[in-house]
Structures are given as C-alpha cells and as structure tokens.
C-alpha cells in the first residue's frame, strides 16, 4: 500500500463536472479535469466533505460489503459508539449488540470499551507531559492527516496513543483467539464505521505499522440489516455491553475531552473550525490549555458521512443512552492498555510544497503571484480549480495552463478575432 490512500472514489457517470466539491474541499485536493472531479490523493485527508456536498451523489466512500464476513471462520463486530445514536427509542445498547450477532457476527467488541482505556491512558499522558500541552487528540484520522501535511509544528503535540478502534481491534482479536483457539488470520475483526477516514486509517495507518482491523462496514449499510433483528431480539437480549458512559460519550463532540475529567480543554468540530483552531494553536494562542479534541465532522463521529441520523439528534440519543450507565467499565489495571502507544514516528509530509528546494520554491511562488495578478480573482471555478490562486499553483506545478482560465481564454479569442478582422479589412 502506498503512503497516500484516499477512500473517496468517483462514480464517473454521475459526475457532472460542477464546482460544488472543488469549492468545499478544505485542502483544495479536487480539480475538475475533462469534465470530471479528480482527487489528488496526496492532498486528500478523507474528511468526506465532497461526499456530503455532491448534489449528484457521484462521490462515494470505499468500504467493505457485509460479504467480507464469509472470508473468516470467526468474526467479531466492532460497533462505533456513534452507531447507538442512529436508532429511535433505543434504551439498551445490548439490543444493537444482540442484533449484530443475529446478523451473522460470532461476537461483538464495543469500540467504546477501547475508548475507556484510551481515556485512562490519555489522562495519565496529559498529566505527565506538561511540555506537550495542549495535547491534541488523535482519534479522528482526518485531523491527524491534516496536521501531518499542513501543521508540522503541531505534530509534537499529538497524543501518541492509537485510536479506540485500533485498541479495541487488538483486544477483540486476543479474546477471540483465546476463546476459539483459532489462528489470528481465521478471525475477522470488522469495524462498523461512521466515516470513510477509518477505511484509510486501516489501509495507511499513521503512528502504528499496521491495523488489526480486517474490514470496515458502513453504519448506513448495516443499519437496515440490523433493524429487523433488533425488533426480533427484544425478548431475548444478551448482556454483551462492556462500556460505561465515558466510552459511549466518545461518539459525539466533547466526549473524549470530557473523559479527561479536567475543564481545561477545548473541543472543536467541523473541518473548517478545526483548521481555524489549528492555525491559532500554531500561533501559540492557547498555550494554557491541557487538551484539544478535534473532530473533522460537525457534531463529532455522529456526523460522519456514513451515518443515517441527523448528528445533533444522534447526540441527544447518545446522551439518553448514557444516562444510567456506570461512569466507566474498562480500566487499565487489567493490563489491557499495553501496546496502545504509537510505535511509529509521525513525520511531516510537505505535500503542498511548490518546489524541490528553496530557490525553486521562491521562484515558483513569485510566478504564482504574477499569475494571480493576471487572473480576474473571481474564484469562479470554471477552470476546474477552486480559486484563481489554486490554478496559479497548478500551472507552476505543471498540471494546468493559463488558458484554462476562461477569462484569459476569452481575451485571447477576442485578440485573435480582432487580428483576423484587421487582416480581412486589409484585403
């Protein structure tokens, strides 16, 4: 697998070549070329904004089909806490978990269980590493990727602990191996995910050398399969849940930060807001904070593009579900947090760089400025780039030309026709 992977793909026949996605992309990773929206995967952070905005449903997230379960002898479902927020009048998480088993999984392991361990690890890491304040959450893979390509000075603030789902995956595999005696490759660990970024995190993990997750299913695809099973299992619900209110709280914004049991934190959600916080953080505007929780999706994971419920309603539902749960049910004393720390160094990837060395970059930046002065500054998107400046950068990178700007082209054609007219009158 290459260093760069994107889990967003285009259904070419549906793409009209409009400018909606190029305008919305927070990293300007999309261009319309030959009438179709093309993603530069080095720039893509898998936030899913283009999937959300596309009016023609031409953008699709890559995820596995439930068929993947057949590849393994024994399967364990890893439901994200956001899954529980999708259902009306749900008052017991065990109904969802039982339904997951009825749909074909041999066992379930709640991601919220892993989340409670990550919360404990974070609590001690934050208190022991004041020099890293504010520590930045690394549970949202889009945010980690964004920092890696755009905020090199903030890399050292990243919480070097794997995401709850990755910890849950290792623990689920260990448990399954102990219970069944099967070798690890015969056990399928399948994540029920709210977002495509998790797919990328499995294929091209950051901070860890490989992910224990074998497959990623979309909440929106599992949802209709679960509903009838949920209805049918109410009289025979198994006690499968292993998590408390801290774990389930991770499903929406503020849940992770709140689990640190300190008030000295900030939680921001929605990719544009996240970028603003990171910009300010880079200028050292909040050096007094202990922790920063960032989620690319508005509302947190409940706002993921693979969910079905309105994120704010889902948040209310999670709150209701958590109400009578114990605070936390998973603790590090059990020795289950080992191996949760990152093993690989996260390095800056300067993907937006304009040249190979300073001299070339300075020359290219000067050229970008010159070109920008030539363009009408309408940011109309007709050239296929989101802004005039983005087109200028594309030209400098050698992937576009001046005449891609329809205004430049129009002037050129006018000049040409004037010349022709002059020739004509000379005859």
């Amino acid at each position: 697998m290459g260093k760069f992977f994107t889990s967003v793909h285009l259904k070419e026949d549906l793409c009209m070549g409009c400018i909606n996605c190029i305008k919305r992309c927070p990293t300007q990773a999309i261009r319309v070329r030959n009438g179709k929206a093309v993603i530069t995967k080095e720039f893509c952070i898998d936030c899913g904004e283009c999937i959300r905005i596309c009016p023609h449903h031409a953008k699709e997230a890559t995820y596995d089909s439930p068929e993947i379960m057949k590849r393994f002898e024994y399967t364990v479902a890893l439901p994200a806490p956001s899954l529980y927020g999708q259902f009306n009048n749900l008052d017991d998480v065990n109904i969802v978990l039982t339904a997951l088993k009825r749909m074909g999984f041999d066992d379930v392991y709640e991601v919220s269980g892993g989340a409670e361990l990550v919360s404990e690890l974070s609590r001690s890491y934050v208190s022991e590493h004041k020099e890293k304040w504010p520590v930045i959450s690394t549970a949202c893979p889009s945010v980690v990727r964004l920092i890696q390509v755009r905020f090199p000075n903030l890399i050292e603030h990243l919480l070097p602990v794997c995401a709850p789902v990755d910890l849950a995956a290792s623990l689920a595999r260990e448990k399954a191996m102990a219970m069944t005696g099967l070798p690890k490759e015969k056990i399928g660990i399948i994540f029920i995910s709210p977002c495509p970024a998790k797919m990328t995190a499995v294929k091209a993990p950051i901070g860890i050398d490989h992910s224990e997750i074998d497959g990623v299913l979309a909440i929106k695809e599992v949802y209709p399969i679960l509903l009838p099973h949920m209805k049918n299992c109410v009289d025979n619900v198994e006690e499968l849940s292993i998590s408390g209110r801290i774990g389930i709280g991770w499903g929406s914004t503020g849940g992770e930060a709140g689990s640190l049991l300190s008030d000295n934190y900030l939680a921001a959600d929605g990719i544009e807001n996240v970028i603003k916080v990171l910009e300010d953080l880079e200028d050292q505007k909040f050096d007094q904070l202990e922790f920063i929780e960032l989620n690319a999706c508005a509302g947190g994971c409940v706002g993921g593009v693979l969910t079905v419920e309105n994120p704010y309603l889902a948040k209310v539902k999670l709150k209701r579900l958590r109400k009578y749960l114990p605070v936390a049910c998973n603790h590090l004393a059990d020795g289950n947090g080992e191996g949760a720390f990152w093993t690989d160094e996260v390095k800056y990837e300067p993907v937006f760089k304009l040249g190979n060395d300073m001299k070339e970059s300075i020359a290219n930046m000067s050229r970008v400025e010159e070109l920008c002065n030539l363009f009408p500054k309408l940011d109309c998107g007709s050239c296929g780039a989101p802004t005039c400046k983005a087109l200028a950068e594309d030209i400098v990178r050698g992937v576009a030309k001046e005449q891609d700007c329809i205004h430049i082209l129009r002037d050129y054609i006018h000049r040409l026709s004037d010349e022709l007219l002059k020739l004509d009158t000379k005859k």
Binding site: P152, N153, E282, K353, I362, A363
Partner: protein, 142 residues
C-alpha cells in the same frame, strides 16, 4: 528584482481586530508552500503576528514587507503611529501602554516586543515620537 527573493507586501488596517493576524497567517501559508523549515515558519509567524497586533493596538495600522531569500526572511513593519517614547522600557517583558479596553480583549500583556526579539535573530526598532515606528526583523534560515 533578484530571482532568488520574493517580496510579499501587506497593508494592516487600523482598529480592526477581526482582521489582525491576517497578514501573518497569509505569510505562514506561503512559507510552508515554499518549503521553509517548520521551526523557521513558526518563528516568523509568531514574531510577525505580534508586530501586526502592535500596529492595530498602538498605531493606526501600517504596512509590512516580507522578503524571503534562501538565506533569511526579512520583515519590515512600518507605521505612522505615535512612536515609542522609551524603547528600552517597551522592550521589558510585561511593560505595556495598551489601554484597558484592549487588555480586556486579552491583548496588551507587555509581551509583544519581547516575543518579537525572542523569536527573531535580529531586530531593530527605529521610532520617532509623533512620526511613527519601523521595526526590522530577520530570521535566518539555518
């Protein structure tokens, strides 16, 4: 113009806190795209941000010219403000002449000039009362 350098010029508007920091943020973005090492970007961004805020708080805005070459980054911040009465005093950490309404916004802690000096390799202040102030800062690439 020398091919190896680029000059970026900004006008900092007076009394507009919502736009203060725009110029330094723009420079930060461009420096990253030019492949300037992250720790240098950080120094320039912080020093310039402090200078920019000073122009809004104490002067009536001003202009900033940033010249980037492979060797160094030069920032020249010019204003036609009231001038600094005692530069040595102004350079002391914690000393501030910012009015209360500015302090209530979280600015005016008296760390502006000291931070600018701390994050740059060279800094010079030329100031004349009633005429204005020019701050020249240099950050070396290596």
């Amino acid at each position: 113009m020398n091919n190896d350098t680029i000059v970026m010029s900004y006008v900092v508007p007076a009394d507009d806190f919502t736009r203060a920091g725009e110029a330094s943020s723009n420079v930060k973005g461009k420096l990253k795209k030019m492949g300037v090492p992250p720790e240098i970007v950080r120094k320039v961004a912080i020093a310039m941000y402090e200078g920019e805020i000073n122009m809004v708080i104490h002067a009536t805005g001003g202009t900033i010219d940033v010249t980037v070459s492979p060797e160094e980054i030069l920032m020249v911040l010019k204003d036609q403000g009231p001038g600094i009465e005692n530069i040595d005093l102004a350079m002391q950490a914690g000393y501030s002449t910012a009015p209360d309404n500015i302090r209530s916004l979280g600015f005016g802690a008296g760390m502006g000039l000291p931070n600018m000096k701390r994050y740059t390799d060279e800094m010079e202040i030329e100031s004349k009362l009633g005429v204005g102030t020019t701050v020249t800062m240099k950050v070396k690439m290596v």
